[in-house]
Subunit: 352 residues, 2 copies
């Protein structure tokens, strides 16, 4: 018996990977994306060169989008959401916000994250000083081809500070988790700034440098030794202005001394929040969230990718901060698990 | 046309996951393991409770082993290796070291890593003092049910130091990479020691704490706040003995002062080296290694899991330090990719 198509919610890296994996196995998939374009954060937020592949987002993720959009086994619904979801493995029924009704053998939630909004960390100057920007804005400066410029007057910055852990590891604002990839993304951005503006000094303010695994050499050491990026272990107090320069004040935690350094541009390395829609997604799909608001996933290895509801799977940054390559692997792994469940349910179904 | 079975080399978490994924899709797999038992490092090295699932290795990975061993679609060859490998996608032929010849549509290398051997860091006391042990040895003390005891005389330690980055982030000994999961594993072990021996003081000596993503709260903060594990940011100089206690000497890099602390047991958090067999594996399969010796993998997202040879894939810690859950996801993702390649090759083959 045909298990019916697999429903995938969210068209970012993990959702695209799940769709491609299913189509590659000859299985139909229906991909529902709330935005008007596929691609998720790397495309919608205009990322530049991605970590860890080094490819331009528009080529790498854009390529995944084109392949999914022209695959005859994948039906894409953009600009709409899943409004209702009921049934059981092998026999789910979803109603989209545009009224379309679709059957599904299983579902995979690839609903991603929401970037931390820096206005929630006002003492670090975002929203007050125009030259305090986010990593996403710097990505856009690079990917647009305009280059890294101070928003206030368009000049090339001579001194840039990247502040790590903005919206991460910060109990004061209810975000205890680490966003996993911002350290590495920031090392990468620092090198890109140094490449474009060789006279610009780039400092990274950190608590711990978390360039885990092989990123240690590729990003951390290369940024220091080849690109002369400077690292300061510090606790930031505030970002102010003396009318001409931005002033980053804090304490150097290695020498236990206050440090006050002027910059032209300050970059917030913003973290990953749970998707702002997660409460609604949890209600519609009847699944549990983790306490921070990310989608709950099984911790047991035998049931990796499962949510609290049988036949509904989850992959990528929907479950917590995640890298793009692991999101892709998880999307494919969830596709295999979803297809196996749908096939089993279909095989055991009694024909009406 | 039948693409033939998929050859999987290595029976650790990623290989087991790949085999299960293929079997779940109705596809035959042949799993070749050089040791006499399946399970990889978690089983062969006798790990206790695993990070991040919290399951006992014997239950979680042991369960994967049983399911693979009784799956009729998976043929397991233990105690042998692949001696010869030739052909092309859809039509590979392998000869095992026991003489068995097998056809394969594609291959997946899940050949894992080798634990760093602490005798290569002699100034930190391993091999000289019996109460200097490795994280693997502590895992074995816990998983055997014997509990954490000083090897020299069997007493319960009152003070334990865990030294991070032994064989990681260490240029002096040619290992620049970070081993990704030892910080989190060490936080977990520290809590297990405190749980078994509530009167024992446990210190973790670190360079950076890399409990990335959601591990920040689950391991780092919980170990400090609930389990009172103490963290010292330090550069270790040497581990010696005063005849009664082990003495850890170093510099506290936060206060820039020398620190000398006595302990009953010192634990090396050993890193992940490339599998010692990688040169031979690379030669037999005709694939490229990375400069550190891990198996080379495509960085482009569209070809994740591919090696330098078409039809030969790679997953898990064979490519660099990796967590168990990501190894499992990568194993399943490689299974999908390998099956798609083998199917395509079989479909386009001209019948003889």
């Amino acid at each position: 018996m045909d298990p019916g198509p697999i429903l995938i919610v969210g068209g970012g890296p993990s959702g695209l990977a799940a769709a491609q994996a299913l189509a590659g196995l000859g299985q139909r998939a229906i991909l529902v994306e709330k935005e008007s374009r596929l691609g998720g954060a790397p495309i919608l937020s205009g990322y530049a060169k991605l970590v860890p592949s080094g490819e331009w987002a528009r080529d790498a993720i854009g390529g995944m989008v084109s392949r999914v959009e022209r695959d005859p086994l994948v039906t894409v619904h953009k600009g709409c959401t899943v409004a209702e979801f009921s049934g059981q493995p092998g026999d789910f029924r979803a109603t989209l916000s545009n009224g379309t009704k679709i059957p599904a053998g299983a579902a995979i939630l690839c609903t991603g994250f929401t970037h931390f909004d820096s206005v929630n960390k006002p003492e670090w100057g975002f929203g007050t000083f125009p030259d305090v920007v986010t990593t996403t804005q710097v990505e856009q400066m690079i990917s647009s081809g305009k280059g890294v410029r101070c928003p206030s007057d368009g000049r090339k910055p001579q001194r840039v500070a990247i502040l790590l852990c903005v919206g991460s590891r910060d109990r004061q604002i209810g975000r205890e988790w680490c966003s996993k990839i911002c350290c590495t993304v920031s090392c990468n951005l620092a090198m890109e700034i140094r490449e474009e503006l060789p006279d610009c000094h780039v400092y990274i303010y950190y608590m711990d440098i978390r360039t885990f695994g092989l990123y240690e050499t590729k990003y951390y050491w290369t940024s220091q030794e080849e690109f002369k990026v400077k690292y300061i272990k510090a606790r930031i107090a505030e970002v102010t202005s003396n009318g001409e320069k931005l002033i980053v004040k804090g304490e150097d935690t290695l020498v236990k001394r206050p440090i006050t350094i002027p910059f032209d541009m300050v970059v917030h390395a913003i973290g990953m929040d749970p998707n702002v829609d997660n409460k609604s997604i949890a209600k519609i799909f009847g699944i549990a969230l983790q306490e921070q608001g990310f989608i709950g996933k099984a911790s047991a290895y035998a049931s990796l990718g499962e949510t609290s509801r049988a036949g509904v799977f989850v992959a990528g940054a929907a479950t917590g901060p995640e890298t793009i390559d692991d999101s892709i692997a998880q999307g494919k792994a969830a596709a295999v698990a979803a297809l196996a469940v749908a096939n089993r349910a279909a095989a055991s179904a009694v024909p009406a």
